[in-house]
């Protein structure tokens, strides 16, 4: 091992989607076995440079980005055989500065410390980095009350979005009367644009199992469920492997650590209903019913799954519990703000140069995330806003970029921490369209139980459709705000209570954009299809035919060397023609067609 180089390929979903399996297969058949050892690992985190290959040798650590078979061939030849790292392809190294270095340097990895380091399908790999030490410490050296106290000292708050103190949830479930008790891991990560939980499950599944076992010990449960989205097949597969391995090594099952502690875990796959992320709906779904939320109280801690006391925590919260027990409460409480301690994982995406999975201390500013870690906006356009919390969250405008990311500050700004989706938007993004996008999602996912959520969101969506198509009316904004407030008050669960947020925050911070749609029938970002028209300027068009060739719906008509025209009925306004035209002959007209 000492003289051998270690080669790791990041094989989480993002990497695989970008072609990492092909790279792995290539390396497996071409790597000189005497020189290097090939290993699988999970998410290295730099999604923007997938597929990623990390090489550790006597010189240091080198992460190669955008590796394909061709690059792999040269990496084997020059780096592994001749010993010369190929600097131009390296995105991170501990030996020299790379352009992308800040992406990792500015992060603080507690929960993701194993991601991209260990082999998620091998329990020994987890044990080598101190795996299951937290469970061992809890079960062999601490009482359940002491475990709960340790979580309290760490100031761990629910990472699913609401931020409820985890130790209280555990305490209430411990104190509740009734047996058996259950632990549930909520891995029904449904927010569009969020993939933190998937990545943790795919890259470090044992951490979650360990966290669940610790919770079970603390509250007195013998059975746990992981409710995971069926859309995450790789996470499910790795969880199954991890559960089997944990059982065979005695971390799950009977008499764990030879103490009188029994605990086992069953996986339940979600069936595609966003509302099941709500805890009472999730439990209904495990019970085999339609996932519809119910009134609280009684809270799950008193009456949960099958009417029994149940502790339900999010993936990240449970992984954090494992770290806290193995490394001590200080590892968590020593960073963050006064009320929001520790770190939070975000899925950074949208119009950003370096998107991926990041873990930052609470209290980091949006500016640091977007510019220092994310490297700024990917297009030539200016930074406009970030959206946090998905369909339950809100948009924060660029001028508030110095806002810190913690539960309190985000809530005050009208957004929420949410589960961790962080979408960056540039000037090409229409905020009315974004609000409509999220509302369309929640309208479709409303379970239909509460009238305000079922019909109110539908009406709001109808109004937004009207505004986006140029038929908005002056009273629409007031109507949206009024409906929004009533839906928040009149809904039983978090879905309805937060569904109006994207609309309300965009009205709050981008009112002028709504007004442009309503009064001037104009979409400033040029995004709303009914309000823009692509036209060819005959004086500039030389009839080269490039646009007609590139148009995916054959909407450009004309004969060669003659000015072309765009058939507005066929045009889907994708903008491909304007991008392709080398003569600036395609203009984008804004406004309703009759007004143009």
């Amino acid at each position: 091992m000492h003289n051998k180089k270690a080669v790791k390929v990041g094989l989480a979903s993002c990497g695989i989607a970008a072609g990492a399996n092909k790279v792995f297969d290539y390396l497996e058949s071409h790597l000189p076995k005497e020189k290097a050892e090939l290993k699988k690992t999970g998410c290295i985190g730099m999604c923007f440079k997938e597929p990623l290959v990390e090489i550790n040798d006597e010189k240091g650590t080198f992460i190669y980005g955008s590796v394909d078979e061709k690059r792999a061939e040269r990496i084997i030849r020059e780096h592994l055989i001749q010993g010369n790292p190929i600097e131009e392809w390296i995105v991170y190294s501990n030996t020299f500065e790379t352009e992308e270095r800040d992406y990792l340097k500015k992060q603080h990895r507690i929960l993701l410390k194993n991601s991209g380091k260990i082999d998620p399908e091998d329990i020994d790999s987890y044990l080598q980095v101190g795996g299951y030490e937290g469970l061992k410490r809890a079960v062999t050296a601490m009482s359940p009350d002491e475990v709960i106290l340790e979580i309290e000292k760490a100031v761990l708050r629910g990472r699913g979005g609401a931020g409820f103190p985890t130790h209280l949830k555990w305490k209430f479930t411990r104190e509740a009367k009734g047996k058996p008790k259950y632990v549930i891991c909520n891995a029904d990560e449904g927010d569009p644009g969020a993939f933190m939980d998937r990545s943790v499950l795919e890259s470090d599944p044992h951490s979650v199992l360990e966290g669940m076992a610790i919770a079970a010990y603390a509250i007195g449960a013998e059975k746990g469920y992981i409710y995971v989205r069926a859309e995450y097949p790789l996470a499910i597969r790795r969880l199954k492997i991890a559960i089997e391995q944990a059982r065979s090594q005695g971390f799950l099952g009977r008499d764990i650590f030879n103490k009188n502690f029994n605990f086992d875990i069953e996986i339940r796959e979600g069936a595609g209903a966003f509302v099941c992320g709500e805890e009472t709906a999730l439990m209904a779904s495990i019970e085999g019913q339609r996932g519809m939320p119910r009134f609280k109280p009684p809270f799950p801690a008193q009456k949960g799954l099958w009417g029994k006391p149940t502790c339900i925590n999010n993936v990240e919260t449970l992984a954090a519990a494992a770290r806290i027990l193995s490394q001590g409460a200080e590892v968590f409480s020593s960073c963050g703000t006064e009320k929001s301690k520790g770190t939070k994982i975000f899925a950074l995406a949208g119009k950003i140069k370096r998107g991926g999975l990041i873990e930052i201390p609470m209290g980091t500013t949006i500016r640091e995330i977007v510019f220092d870690i994310g490297g700024g906006i990917s297009s030539q356009k200016a930074f406009k806003a970030v959206q946090t919390g998905g369909p339950s969250g809100g948009c924060i405008p660029a001028h508030m970029a110095d806002l810190t990311v913690d539960y309190e500050a985000l809530k005050e700004a009208g957004a929420i921490m949410g589960s961790g989706g962080l979408i960056v938007m540039d000037e090409d993004t229409c905020m009315v369209d974004v609000a409509r996008f999220f509302l369309k999602f929640t309208t479709g996912e409303s379970c239909g139980k509460c009238t305000f959520c079922r019909i109110g969101t539908y009406q709001m969506l109808h109004i937004l459709d009207r505004i986006c198509s140029g038929h908005g009316e002056p009273e629409d904004l007031e109507l949206l705000e009024d409906l929004g407030e009533k839906i928040i008050k009149g809904s039983l669960c978090g879905l309805g209570q937060t569904a109006p947020n994207p609309v309300l925050t965009t009205i709050k911070y981008f009112r002028e954009e709504y007004e442009a749609h309503i009064y001037e029938k104009r979409c400033p970002a040029g995004k709303c299809r009914d309000l823009v028209e692509y036209r060819i300027i005959p004086e500039k068009c030389i009839g080269c035919g490039l646009c007609s060739k590139i148009c995916p719906v054959n909407a450009v008509e004309g004969v060669r060397k003659q000015p072309h025209t765009i058939n507005v009925r066929k045009c889907i306004k994708c903008g491909s023609c304007a991008e392709a035209c080398r003569f600036d002959a395609i203009e984008i007209a804004s406004g309703l067609s009759e007004g143009r």
């Binding site: 993002c14 989607a17 970008a18 644009g193 069926a230 069936a271 996008f437 889907i572």
Partner: protein
Amino acid sequence: MGEKRTALEGIEDVIDAIIKRHADKRGAAIPILQDIQKELGYIPKAALYKISQLPGMNASDLYGIVTFYSQFRLQPMGEVMIHVCHGTACHLAGAEEITCVICETAGITDGETSPDGKITVEKVACLGCCSLAPVITVNGETYGRLTPEKARELIKNIKKETEN
């Protein structure tokens, strides 16, 4: 999965085996339905009646479950299943336009299967590959960083392949 099954004929054993597998589970309706769909590609209505004969289950509740959860399908899907991601990042990157192009090229509307049973196009909430936006999957294989033109070429090739 190629042949269309409308009745229980020949699949009764499959369903029996699945039910047996989940015999000791509480709240097993959803896992049973998921396994049936995994096996058959969709849930034949006849299967609902079959499961409804189990203790504690009735056909109307089962129908309620199947129509509540978006994963379940009561119609067979095409040989080629195209999922178009409509997560936030993909939406910003032009998922609507990509969907238009795919449907236009395939000659069907979103959520439909082509009349010859070859291609199904479905919108999905989020595939979680946000840094590759816009993304689609074709029978599980991911295609990222699409442009309208790339999408058109991809669908054209798929159509050509299914015709052969």
